[in-house]
């Protein structure tokens, strides 16, 4: 690891993951930091936890706080925690609007703004503009806009609205994906395109919506499009040139999945050869779905990336008997060559559209007196998994929402125990399956605070009825579609914002929301957690108690990822995109007829009141203290 003085400035070398477990470096940096910044010292919270609570001891592999936001999840451990502490639980009530920026694109705004070198970068949904805003000037005027010009037909093949989940920064470049399967690198200073690489084929149903992660000068990306019979993969591109370095598929023979001598999954059944072929009938693995449209985490010490694959296709499980490896699976891979080191499948032979793409938060937590390197993964299937990230052993799998499609996870075998009565059958009505197809939580990423030891989980509380009644029509081919209708789960609230203690395996507090909480979470050293609601409220809550401390009503529903940064004036700012859409908000962003209850795969049925609560939008809101 290069010990470079440049790191101590708010430098460009953010790809150097520097762990504060290296004391010399931490000390060297600290003298240049503003006094209000809190280093994330492992095991030694610098702010006293709330009275009556104690930090359970979970820590994240921390990186030095530079006041910026250069990666989708802030850091490689994917904590979405900022060490900035000017805005605190005591003063957040004074937070006020500092400035706004209108993107002009009125579709679901899921991306996290990046802040690098006193410039903010905002990626829009299709047509995937990249705006650069100058934070050194009043009102943050636009420096430039980059327009990649994706082909319009991409909208026709993109599943679930035309969202984009954001960009990554490294080595002077902003790197992100366009809906029509291009990864682009744009010069962060000038807005000039550095390279643009076609990585997939829209005419085969592929699209790109995820935010890349940059690891050791490699841009790691994955594809979307499981609903259209794609074959899922992750790919690494060279940061300097855009050249494709490796690709690893999620179905097919071991060679294509990059399973070789280093592959040592924890569970014996996963060690047999070519499971990506043998757990599928015939050649259905070739159109088996299992993209990778979610999040990637990285552990620099183990040199492993972690991410989950999506659900298998076709959705109807009867047509793909078998486990359908490696769909709905978490992979640990070597970023240098893509080789798989371990894999664990959360939902073998997925029955309910439970993608495995949700975030993996890398923590070190005490378990039975020992500190274990784990990843925490709140899956769509309703379980919050704690997995040893060195070897793929499932240490615990706790339901964090209401689950009746399964009865638990067998920790001896790692297998989920499906409930027979919720098995979808053609021509039969299966009622009250929970969680519904979007899962107990979808893409919206959680945050972790090393100060409270809590994970902040934005998620939904939905169940569904599945029946086959409605005629449908694709490419001149008529068929009777499954009529999926979603409705609120127990309690009647469709969403909630929860604090979860990963050491004690328990819910600490929960804020109920009327609509699904489809925004990301943000946690800060000021002991504040932030999230947004689909009505458009941007909320700050006490990170220890969940008590609402402040809220602001933005112009549209919030499904974006809040971030925080230190401005050139030394003040801490909080930013979030407002603009409803995505799967849950398609009824507004897509202008869907509320009478069409099975639209958006049945999500519309439970969102018919959303159009009365919000309108389309595409505005960035930035807040600070007076």
């Amino acid at each position: 690891m290069a010990r470079d003085n440049a790191f101590c400035r708010s430098s460009f070398k953010v790809t150097l993951a520097v762990f504060l477990t290296l004391p010399a470096l931490a000390a060297g940096c600290s003298r240049e930091k503003p006094a209000d910044e809190v280093a994330q010292t492992p095991g030694k919270p610098t702010v006293t936890p709330m009275a009556g609570r104690s930090n359970g001891g979970a820590i994240a592999a921390a990186e030095a706080e530079d006041g910026q936001w250069t990666r989708p999840a802030k850091n490689y451990a994917s904590t979405r925690f900022s060490g900035l502490n000017q805005i605190t639980a005591d003063n957040v009530r004074n937070l006020r609007l500092a400035w706004t920026f209108e993107t002009g694109i009125l579709r679901g705004q899921e991306a996290a703004p990046l802040v690098v070198n006193n410039t903010m970068y905002v990626v829009t949904p299709f047509p995937n503009y990249l705006y650069a805003l100058d934070l050194t000037k009043p009102g943050a005027p636009m420096k430039w806009v980059y327009k990649p010009g994706p082909i319009a037909a991409a909208q026709g093949v993109a599943c679930c609205d035309v969202v984009n989940r954001g960009a990554s920064y490294a080595d002077g470049k902003i790197v992100y994906n366009t809906l029509d399967n291009h990864t682009v690198a744009v010069d962060a200073a000038s807005g000039q395109e550095v390279w643009k690489t076609k990585v997939g084929e829209i005419n085969l149903g592929e699209s790109l919506t995820m935010a890349p992660l940059i690891v050791k000068n490699k841009v790691i990306i994955g594809n979307s499009g499981g609903e259209f019979g794609i074959r899922g993969w992750v790919t690494a591109l060279d940061l300097g040139s855009g050249k494709i370095l490796w690709r690893a598929y999620h179905t097919g023979p071991d060679s294509a999945v990059r399973i070789g001598p280093r592959f040592k999954p924890f569970y014996a059944e996963d060690r047999r050869p070519d499971l990506g072929v043998k757990t599928w009938p015939g050649e259905t693995w070739k159109i088996g779905g299992a993209g990778a449209w979610g999040w990637i985490s990285y552990d620099p010490q183990l040199n492993l990336i972690y991410y989950g694959s999506a659900n298998p296709g076709p959705w109807n499980p009867d047509q793909r008997p078998g486990d359908n490896k490696w769909s709905a699976t978490i992979f640990a891979r070597d970023p240098d060559n893509g080789d798989a080191v371990w894999a664990y499948q959360m939902s073998p032979h997925d029955l309910h559209d439970y993608d495995g793409v949700n975030e993996n938060i890398l923590l070190d937590i005490p378990i039975n007196g020992q500190t274990r390197k784990v990843l925490i993964h709140p899956d769509r299937n309703g379980y919050l998994y704690t997995i040893d990230r060195t070897n793929g052993e499932v240490l615990s799998a706790d339901p964090y929402g209401y689950v009746n499609t399964s009865t638990g996870v067998d920790l001896k075998t790692g297998r989920i125990k499906y409930a027979d009565e919720k098995y979808p059958k053609m021509g039969e009505v299966v009622r009250n399956s929970c969680p519904a197809a979007p899962g107990a939580k979808d893409w919206q990423p959680s945050a972790f605070s090393p100060m409270t030891g809590l994970i902040y989980i934005p998620h939904q509380n939905l169940c569904m009825d599945v029946e086959s009644v409605e005629a449908n029509y694709i490419a001149g081919t008529p068929f009777v579609g499954m009529n999926v209708k979603m409705f609120p789960g127990p309690g009647g609230n469709r969403g909630q914002f929860d604090a979860w203690d990963p050491v004690a395996h328990k819910l600490v507090w929960s804020v109920k929301e009327n609509f699904p909480v489809w925004s990301g979470a943000l946690a800060t050293a000021g002991n504040v957690a932030f999230y947004g609601t689909m009505e458009g409220w941007f909320k700050a809550v006490d990170a220890g108690t969940g008590q609402e401390l402040w809220k602001f009503k933005t112009g549209s529903g919030i499904i974006g990822q809040p971030v925080t940064y230190r401005g050139p004036d030394g003040k801490q700012y909080v930013a979030v995109m407002s603009g409803v859409g995505g799967w849950s908000g398609a009824i507004v962003a897509g202008g869907i007829d509320p009478r069409d209850s099975s639209a958006a795969l049945g999500f519309v049925a439970t969102m018919t009141d959303l159009p009365a609560a919000t309108n389309k939008g595409g505005t960035l809101y930035v807040f600070s203290l007076p």
Binding site: W315, Q319, F479
Partner: protein
């Protein structure tokens, strides 16, 4: 011309590019040929899906659209959009057009006219194989290589895919994505090509697709309607097809019903020209 022309032209250009780029680009823009008072009939259509439609207007839905426009004394214009999930949402319901020529009669996302044809899923085999398969319960289906189309959307699939998996006929079934590779002409037709080439022994396809392409393969193909027509508990293989308009646009729907009634023999002739297998032929009125 209307202000949506630049947008329309852009879409058409893109679709033409997708479809191979060499096609003549049909555009509703440009100098108006008719008097400004002429009514415009705006149809949304897939630019690359024969026998239904393509951007060269060679499909039977293109011919029927021309017939309807002529009857209504309207000028026909197209918005081209791949007929996939989101098709209705992005076209008809965005007011890009007023009419879809073919939708199932019970399609809830549009207001539908009276049906103008009823077709069925069919077995497609090479004549030189003498397989004579007419039922999903034919024991031959347990050993033959069977091709079906997969939708992979809306938690469901084509009826033959379900009928076979329900009978535990799985490992010898090959799925062909109904979306296919959109760079190629008429992607769903790959299923019929596979039968002709001998990649599979039996294809199970929607009648109009099979009827049209079976006549164009280099070897003789047999098409036989499937039975049962409705599998238990409720899996229909027979569908009535109507025209679709926006919900609430009852006046256009009523006009179209009248056109279908007036032009029934001409519509029948077009469908016959394209080899559409019919279950309603010879009936005097709507078959619902």
């Amino acid at each position: 011309m209307s202000s949506r022309c630049p947008e329309l032209t852009r879409r058409i250009a893109i679709v033409a590019l997708l479809a191979g780029g060499s096609a003549t680009i049909a555009t509703a823009c440009g100098p108006a040929r008719a008097a400004p008072t002429t009514r415009e009939l705006r149809v949304c259509s897939d630019p690359n899906n024969l026998p239904f439609s393509n951007e060269r207007r060679e499909g039977f839905e293109n011919k029927i659209a021309e017939l309807v426009a002529r009857d209504l004394n309207a000028r026909l214009s197209y918005v081209w959009w791949a007929q996939r999930r989101g098709f209705v949402r992005n076209t008809l319901n965005q007011n890009q057009c007023d009419l879809l020529i073919g939708v199932p009669s019970s399609f809830e996302r549009t207001r539908t006219t009276v049906p103008y044809y009823r077709s069925t899923y069919v077995f497609v085999t090479r004549r030189d194989r003498h397989l004579k398969i007419a039922s999903f319960d034919d024991p031959q289906l347990r050993r033959l290589r069977i091709g079906v189309q997969l939708i992979g959307d809306d938690a469901t699939n084509t009826p033959p895919a379900h009928a076979l998996s329900k009978r535990n006929i799985i490992s010898n079934v090959r799925g062909y994505s109904v979306y296919g590779d959109y760079r190629q002409p008429n992607p769903p037709a790959r299923l019929i090509d596979a039968v002709a080439r001998g990649d599979i022994d039996v294809g199970v396809a929607w009648g109009p697709l099979a009827g049209y392409f079976a006549q164009r393969e280099p070897v003789r193909l047999d098409i036989t309607r499937v039975s049962p027509q409705i599998d238990v508990p409720f899996l229909p293989f027979v569908f009535d097809i109507s025209m679709g308009v926006r919900r609430g646009n009852d006046s256009l729907r009523d006009e179209l019903n009248a056109v279908i009634s007036r032009r029934r023999s001409e519509i029948d002739r077009i469908l016959s020209d394209y080899g559409v297998p019919r279950l309603d032929i010879g009936r005097a009125g709507p078959t619902t």
